[in-house]
């Protein structure tokens, strides 16, 4: 739940990038970190293994300015994607306000995307949250692999697999080159802010 400090007129919002391992969640944050250097007061924090796999989370806070007199800070987190780290994924989801689900468009990752989304549904239900009511954006990442002739899933297939009942906004993206990374971010911020407006005013 967003933290609203009426004394300091601050709002802190937690957005979590979730998805299967090696899907590009950390790469999304790294691109955002480079693009918005001027708004980021602190270093990006990454808890990772020696081979650059996320071990606990990545953390990147940045300011989005004032809304109705409140300074709004967005805190971006990623979860570790590897299957074995579900306990830590659950911990990172505590207090989440919005979720970006980063799916991997490679054909061979189809099953992993579905499993990860199912687990997300279960994980947030432990905090009495419902994925169907949570601000959510789907990102179909690594679309650039098409150029390298790597077999990828079509957006129609991904929509059918992952988004047929959730009906969340969805974007094809390439986190490595930055394609649609910012668009995804802007979308999740706008729908998350809209969802907490009732608490604010």
């Amino acid at each position: 739940m967003a933290l609203i400090n009426v004394k300091k007129k601050e709002v802190q919002i937690k957005i979590v990038y979730y998805g299967p391992g090696r899907g590009g969640k950390t790469t999304n944050l790294e691109y955002i970190n480079e693009t918005y250097q001027d708004r980021i007061k602190t270093q990006m924090v990454s808890l990772k293994t020696h081979d650059d796999r996320t071990l606990f989370f990545d953390f990147l806070p940045f300011d989005v300015g004032q809304i109705k007199g409140f300074d709004v800070t967005i805190q971006l987190y990623t979860v570790p994607g590897q299957v074995k780290y579900n306990a830590t994924r659950k911990l990172v989801l505590r207090g989440v306000d919005g979720i970006v689900f980063v799916a991997d468009v490679q054909k061979e990752q189809r099953k992993k995307n579905i499993e990860s989304l199912n687990q997300l549904y279960e994980n947030i239900s432990t905090y009495n949250l419902d994925l169907f009511e949570m601000p959510l954006v789907m990102q179909y990442n690594k679309i650039d692999l098409k150029q390298a002739n790597i077999p990828i899933l079509s957006s129609q297939t991904l929509q059918k697999d992952l988004n047929s009942s959730l009906r969340a906004p969805a974007f094809e993206a390439s986190a490595l080159s930055g394609g649609n990374v910012i668009l995804t971010l802007k979308k999740i911020i706008s729908i998350t802010l809209a969802s907490i407006q009732d608490q604010l005013f």
Partner: protein, 128 residues
């Protein structure tokens, strides 16, 4: 959401009980990693945003470990450094108090002050 009176009272109790006793930094935060109140003695800089995120992760991980070994919680979490040490205490189910202090202060004194502060914060939160 905390109201203005609660936030003022929490600021006040942290200042008078902990910062005045010689602690370097104190952060009252939620388990999601958001700082609710931050105080320091003005002598050193701390990136408290990143610190709060890591502290929440650290506390949550240790809490999960406690459950795995059949403990309901590890109530005292303490990291000792050469110059600076960090003390973690649960205040309510959703909040934590992080106290950082230098080698001039003893852990015993900090614990006493922290217990006292937590009692007062709980009363402030109950009052609404």
């Amino acid at each position: 959401m905390y109201n203005q009176n609660q936030l003022d009272a929490i600021d006040d109790v942290i200042q008078t009980k902990l910062i005045a006793a010689g602690l370097d930094h104190v952060i009252f935060m939620d388990m999601g990693g958001n700082a609710i109140a931050k105080h320091d003695n003005g002598k050193s800089y701390l990136d408290s945003t990143a610190f709060a995120a890591l502290a929440a992760g650290n506390y949550a991980a240790v809490d999960a470990m406690a459950k795995l070994v059949g403990e309901s919680e590890f109530s005292l979490l303490f990291h000792k450094g050469k110059k600076l040490s960090i003390h973690f205490s649960k205040v309510t189910d959703d909040t934590l108090l992080i106290s950082m202090f230098n080698k001039e202060l003893s852990l015993g004194l900090v614990r006493l002050k922290v217990i006292d502060t937590i009692k007062e914060i709980n009363q402030i939160l109950l009052k609404g």
